[in-house]
């Protein structure tokens, strides 16, 4: 350890149009070490990976591999040079309809000097050699579509390792694996580490990071915000570098609420997770924070009736609340601004007005016929309320900036009075001014309802919430009133200290 870097990235920059995604990144990878790359959504991790693996062209900066200049123009070139990437989506790394042996040798099926005829015996022989080297105990004749996700992941990695790379990049490899399956993956990574491969491991899971990391590099807003290689590793420091406060923006005057709106008792999201109990009061804004994949969206969807809890009860304004669908939740007065607006929110074929009215057609129509005058008046009012920048309520959604699109999504659900207003990552892909507008609007209109935000970035929680709850491993592990917060304790909870890792 501490040897000279096998792979070096220096001053890497990348912009998409006006938008600078990477602002001069420098990273080193060492042989026989696992370097963990941490960063929130939009920090630039995937852009960095795509440049290294030859998918994107870099804007500026240099890369070198074993002392030589490394500038792949295509993914194939990067692989030939010895830098191999296993992407997050497991099924991108394997061909589901072919057997394991063919998958392991897939990259030898094309290119110059390859025989025209497909020789199954030779393929199986070569595949066996690859599998043995990796200690892979999977039937080579099995079809990949019949394998579990973990086995597919193993095949994808083994396939990557068939190139005998110097550098292996793993992009969130455990995001869809169970913990037992992840253990098998870790054993494989240990083996590769012993073989002297330099590994770049991208993950949000603190338990993975604690298990594997030799070094941690934290990224934030397109730059490296911290490098940690002193043993023992400073995990909280790494989380802080990735999420912590940049500058003090707006302070929130925390309010208290006496009148409970939503109470949740013993709600369990996944088997083995500790149950969640919480109370949300009228007029207060509560933020739930935690790393990606700790169950924030699962909790949001459970409260909105899209997902069923394993156990537990909920009451809304004193009445039992157990929505079986989004429709029932809406009828009961619980609204959700879902995360990832392009996927879950925006109807691309609709203009602003039609997007805003979407959930409330029934309330805006008589005998099934939409009352367009009311629809238009509602849209105009909401455009005004949230300060959506557009020419008119008839504008296409694609004509709006990301911030304004998000405002439309929030405006949609603020068009009617909510009892429980849930927003999942409402500031994702939103510029700072739109983010402040939305946060201010949420606070100003909070009276009479309970408002619950799910955010990964701590800043967003600190700027908007009266109370902050911390999630880790599918449950709530901490609660803070947003006034003189003990930031260290909060970060320790986010990082999932040893106290909680047993859960």
């Amino acid at each position: 350890m501490g040897a000279d870097a096998v792979f070096r990235v220096d001053g890497l920059r990348k912009s998409f149009g006006q938008n600078e995604v990477l602002g001069g990144i420098s990273v080193e990878l060492h042989a026989g070490e696992v370097t963990v790359l941490m960063g929130a959504n939009g920090a630039g991790k995937s852009t960095l990976v795509k440049i290294i693996s030859g998918v994107y062209e870099r804007g500026a900066g240099t890369m070198s591999l074993a002392g030589e200049d490394f500038a792949p123009k295509t993914p194939a070139e990067a692989i030939r040079a010895g830098v191999v990437t296993v992407h997050q989506n497991i099924n991108d790394g394997v061909v589901a309809d072919l057997d394991v042996a063919t998958n392991l040798t897939l990259d030898r099926l094309s290119g110059s000097g390859v025989p025209t005829l497909f020789n199954p015996v030779r393929v199986r022989r070569e595949a066996k050699a690859v599998a043995d080297r990796m200690g892979l105990a999977i039937d080579l004749k099995a079809r990949v579509s019949d394998l579990s996700l973990a086995d597919r992941q193993m095949v994808a990695i083994a396939r990557a390792m068939a190139h005998r790379p110097k550098v292996l990049i793993l992009d969130e490899p455990t995001s869809s694996l169970s913990s037992a399956e992840a253990d098998r993956l870790f054993a494989l990574i240990d083996r590769l580490r012993e073989q002297g491969v330099a590994i770049l491991y991208i993950s949000h899971r603190m338990s993975d990071i604690r298990r594997l990391a030799d070094r941690i590099v934290s990224m934030r807003d397109g730059v490296v915000s911290g490098v940690f290689d002193q043993k023992p590793l400073d995990y909280e420091g790494a989380v802080n570098a990735m999420l912590g406060r940049k500058i003090h923006l707006d302070r929130v005057v925390a309010r208290n609420s006496a009148h409970p709106v939503l109470t949740v008792e013993g709600l369990r999201l996944t088997p083995g997770a500790r149950p969640i109990s919480l109370t949300l009061g009228a007029g207060e804004v509560v933020a739930v924070t935690g790393l990606v994949g700790v169950g924030k969206t699962a909790l949001a969807e459970t409260l909105f009736g899209v997902r069923r809890p394993l156990s537990g009860t909920m009451t809304l304004n004193g009445k039992p609340y157990a929505p079986a669908s989004a429709g029932e939740a809406i009828a009961a007065g619980a609204f959700l601004v879902a995360k990832d607006r392009a996927e879950n929110g925006i109807v691309g074929g609709f203009n602003i007005q039609e997007n805003i009215s979407l959930p409330f057609h029934r309330r805006m129509s008589r005998f099934g016929v939409l009352k367009r005058r009311i629809e238009r008046a509602t849209a105009r009012r909401q455009i005004d309320e949230l300060g959506i920048v557009c020419r008119s309520e008839k504008d296409e959604m694609s004509a709006l900036s990301g911030g304004n699109q998000q405002k439309v999504m929030v405006a949609r659900w603020m068009a009617q009075e909510a009892k429980l207003f849930i927003l999942d990552e409402p500031f994702q892909g939103v510029d700072i001014s739109a983010r402040r507008d939305i946060a201010a609007k949420l606070r100003a209109s909070a009276d009479g309802r309970a408002t619950l935000l799910f955010v990964t970035e701590l800043d967003e929680a600190l700027e908007t919430a009266d109370r902050i709850l911390v999630m880790s491993e599918q449950t709530i592990v901490g609660e803070h009133r947003n006034a003189d917060i003990d930031l260290e304790r909060l970060l320790a909870e986010v990082a999932g200290g040893p106290l909680h890792s047993a859960a």
């Binding site: 899209v306 691309g348 099934g368």
Partner: protein, 331 residues
């Protein structure tokens, strides 16, 4: 790009009027009430089917079984009246039931069995093509036919039923407008109003554009999809009733072109007024467009076998209008 916007928006309408103007000059007698009525009559049945398939296109699906639903309905109407010796009302009800049932099965296959829409309805098409021939062992149905068991079918098409195909309403000129054209216009207005002005139609568009968003907005997405196929099935069976009434018998060789013509009309409709999405008005215009083209070509003595080719060209041009020029199809 104002010019381009106008080209996308009005291009197809201009093309339609240009075509009419051309035929008016080139073909004698093209511009007359009778000729206009004939155009509408020739596209009435495909138009009804096209309006139905528009509903499935709106929810992001497709229905390839419409042609065979129509011919099955035609055969069923003939069987009910000729073999079972029932009256017109029973025949019409039987046809509509077939439409509803096929729509429900299509919807069930697509929504619950997760069969891709094209494949599910393609399978249904084959199934119906075969099924409609089983009761008569592949023979056409007409009064006096011999049944497989040797008996003679003595029932006949009721007058009320035949009137659906042959009666003409007075409209300034006596005996001008056939029932089928009236049915087409009524259904066109109905589906247009349903899709554009009711909350159900609006939500169907939402389902077609972003299913997940519609679901998170509280819509019963599965039900909407199944309803779309029921609408399509019912419209197709109405088309079949009109076909049976026009022919006056159950002809197993008829209706071969229904599917392709109807789909062409609906897809041409995407280009009308730059909608870039399935819409009832566009579908109606698309059907008329095809009718004008065929009537004009026929009057100019173009050979019959060129017609399919010309239809194909028009469809391809319309699709280029929709997807390449407007750039909205990419989403």
């Amino acid at each position: 790009m104002m010019l381009r916007d106008h080209a996308i928006r009005y291009g197809f309408i201009v093309l339609l009027f240009g075509l009419i103007a051309y035929f008016a000059i080139a073909a004698d007698g093209f511009v007359s009430p009778q000729s206009a009525v004939f155009i509408f009559q020739s596209v009435a049945i495909t138009g009804v089917l096209a309006l139905g398939v528009t509903a499935t296109l709106v929810v992001g699906g497709f229905d390839l079984s419409i042609g065979s639903v129509a011919t099955s309905a035609m055969m069923a109407a003939s069987y009910v009246m000729v073999v079972l010796e029932q009256n017109a009302v029973v025949a019409v009800i039987a046809c509509l039931l077939i439409g509803v049932l096929v729509g429900l099965i299509n919807g069930w296959l697509i929504v619950y069995m997760r069969v891709p829409d094209l494949l599910a309805t393609l399978g249904m098409m084959f199934l119906l093509v075969g099924l409609q021939r089983i009761p008569t062992e592949g023979r056409s149905i007409a009064t006096g036919m011999t049944m497989p068991d040797g008996s003679v079918a003595n029932g006949k098409f009721g007058d009320a039923f035949l009137a659906l195909g042959r009666h003409r309403f007075d409209f300034f000129i006596p005996n001008l407008i056939p029932v089928s054209v009236v049915v087409l216009l009524v259904l066109a207005v109905l589906i247009w109003f349903f899709l554009e002005y009711t909350r159900f139609g609006r939500m169907m568009y939402a389902v077609g554009s972003n299913e997940r968003a519609a679901e998170l907005a509280g819509a019963p997405v599965k039900a909407y999809k199944i309803w779309a196929y029921v609408i399509s099935g019912v419209f197709a069976s109405i088309g079949g009733i009109l076909l049976a009434a026009r022919l006056g018998r159950g002809d197993i060789a008829s209706g071969n072109n229904l599917l392709l013509d109807a789909v062409a009309a609906a897809l041409i409709g995407y280009a009308v007024l730059g909608a870039a999405k399935p819409n009832a008005f566009g579908t109606a215009v698309g059907a008329v467009f095809v009718g004008v083209l065929l009537q004009g070509l026929t009057m100019m003595n173009a050979p019959y076998y060129t017609q399919d080719f010309v239809k194909g060209v028009v469809l391809v041009v319309a699709l280029v209008f929709t997807f390449a020029l407007s750039g909205r199809g990419k989403r």
